[in-house]
Amino acid sequence: MSAETLDFTATEIMTVAASRLLKDGTVCFVGIGLPSTAANLARLTHAPEVVLIYESGPIGAKPTVLPLSIGDGDLALTADTVVSTPEIFRYWLQGGRIDVGFLGAAQVDRFANINTTIIGPYDAPKVRLPGAGGAPEIASQAKEVFIVLKQSPKAFVAKLPFVTSAGYLDGGDARAKAGIPGAGPTAVITDLGILTPDPVTKELTLTSIHPGVTVEQVKAATGWDLKISPDLKTTEIPDAGALAALRDLQARTAAAHGQAGGGEG
């Protein structure tokens, strides 16, 4: 089958594009849901030596199906070792051993700050979201961060009601000045394209657009006046091997759990 004839969904190209960013041998602290799908796809395709760490304690997890929760038994049984949750956060994350933090988000702003706490005022919330989980320290202490989420005006907002986890704060050198050790989010992968921070201002800029998507579509799905890179690239379409591996993984997961996806807890 030639690449041009491949059919794929927006979620599939998002997942494959996110997985491609994960290099072989990387030590990756994995959030549940989309990040876990992308990270495991990387492990099953181009990055067999990637080390997946989950906040529940498994280090070097090699799950056979996607975990539904962040503490599924399969993660423990397939890991190189399982440590306590305090040890994960103290020795492995705070200890500076994580190359990539792979996170999802409910909302992001133009400087890649993340909200997973609340919509509306904190004391009188319109929507109570699950909360921080491990994200604030993953976002600040991993050497770099990838964020994966679907793009819409509700998710990509000019001003977050609550900053749960720091991206580049107010932009420029604000993050470094605040004393945050990691470099911060280097890519936000969505179902429409890939946004990366401007080297100076740190404002998220559309640098890659998925095939078949228009710039107008991406702008319409963004709650601020999105900057478009003058060198805008078209995202490479998923290759047949990666697509087959992703679909196989999701079919195995559905057979095992009766559903795909996942959440913390």
Binding site: G73, G131, G133, L169, H257
Partner: protein, 286 residues
């Protein structure tokens, strides 16, 4: 020495109205049976502590057991929101629920500090987050050696910690394995502790360095096979993902929730009774 006792007696003697109570478990080994028993016995005014409040805290909050929740992530793993928790926070039903919100790293460190008999936990965390703006218990101190700014939060020191484990021996020494979460720290941080176990055996057959909680560090050990249901106990049971999904529509409506709790928890004598009635109602649903 831990007393090996029925769960009903352990809850009656060790969990009091107004206590700070931690029922810990990180997806694995969640002490559902003990949570139900606390609901059955009508405890009120509890400060509930847990890194990852899920269905059992949704039930306890919805039944009015808690006035405060200290937590870092609250949801139905793999499914979505906790509707009773959200209703309490968003609408104040059945009454207002005060929340004290942290990150996982903060909570994990706070348990370690509690177990270490320290007044506060120290970590590199929360920088750039709005959490310190809404939680006055997140503060910053200067390292006396390097002047680095570090986060400080009060230790978690529960009156009672409740966990579920795989097995205990006849003296009440407890062995747990698999995903351990913060259970060891939560038990050692608490004044009193209850451990429900899958079974009581003659010999734990624990290798050196296994996670064994010695009997003399625990208050009560209660045999409750399957007591983590619908979560799992590695080596004994699988997580029942169907129940996590089934919980979502039950918890959406106050009336459905109340009726479900009445039939499955308040009108049953114990966890075995709950499991029997649940099997019947799940059959009816099919």
């Amino acid at each position: 020495m831990a007393k090996i006792t029925p769960l009903r007696e352990a809850v009656a003697s060790l969990v009091h109205d107004g206590d700070t109570v931690a029922l810990e478990g990180f997806t694995h080994l969640i002490p559902h049976a003990a949570g139900h028993e606390i609901i059955r016995q009508g405890r009120r005014g509890l400060t509930l502590v847990r890194m990852t409040p899920d269905l059992i805290y949704d039930q306890m909050i919805g039944m009015g057991c808690a006035t405060k929740l200290i937590f870092s992530w609250g949801g139905n793993p793999g499914v979505g929101s906790l509707h009773r928790f959200r209703d309490a926070v968003e609408q104040g039903w059945p009454h207002r629920l005060e929340t004290e919100e942290h990150s996982h790293a903060g909570m994990a460190n706070a348990y370690v500090a509690g177990a270490s008999n320290l007044p506060f936990a120290l970590l590199r965390g929360y920088t750039g987050s709005d959490l310190p703006k809404v939680n006055p218990n997140i503060r910053f101190v200067e390292c006396p050696f390097t002047a680095e700014k570090l986060a400080a939060i009060p230790s978690v020191r529960p009156d009672v910690t409740v966990i579920h484990a795989q097995k205990a021996d006849r003296r009440g020494n407890v062995l747990l394995w698999g995903i351990l979460g913060v259970q060891k720290e939560a038990v050692l941080a608490a004044k009193r502790s209850i451990v429900t176990v899958e079974e009581i055996v003659d010999d734990l057959e624990a290798p050196p360095n296994a996670c064994v909680l010695p009997s003399w560090a625990l208050s009560a050990v209660c045999p409750v096979p399957g007591g983590a249901y619908p979560s799992y106990a590695q080596g004994y049971s699988e997580r029942d993902n169907r129940f996590y999904k089934a919980w979502d529509p039950i918890a959406r409506s106050r009336d459905d929730f109340r009726a479900w709790m009445q039939r499955h928890v308040l009108d049953t004598d114990d966890f075995a009774g709950f499991r029997r009635v649940l099997a019947e109602s799940m059959k009816e649903a099919v």
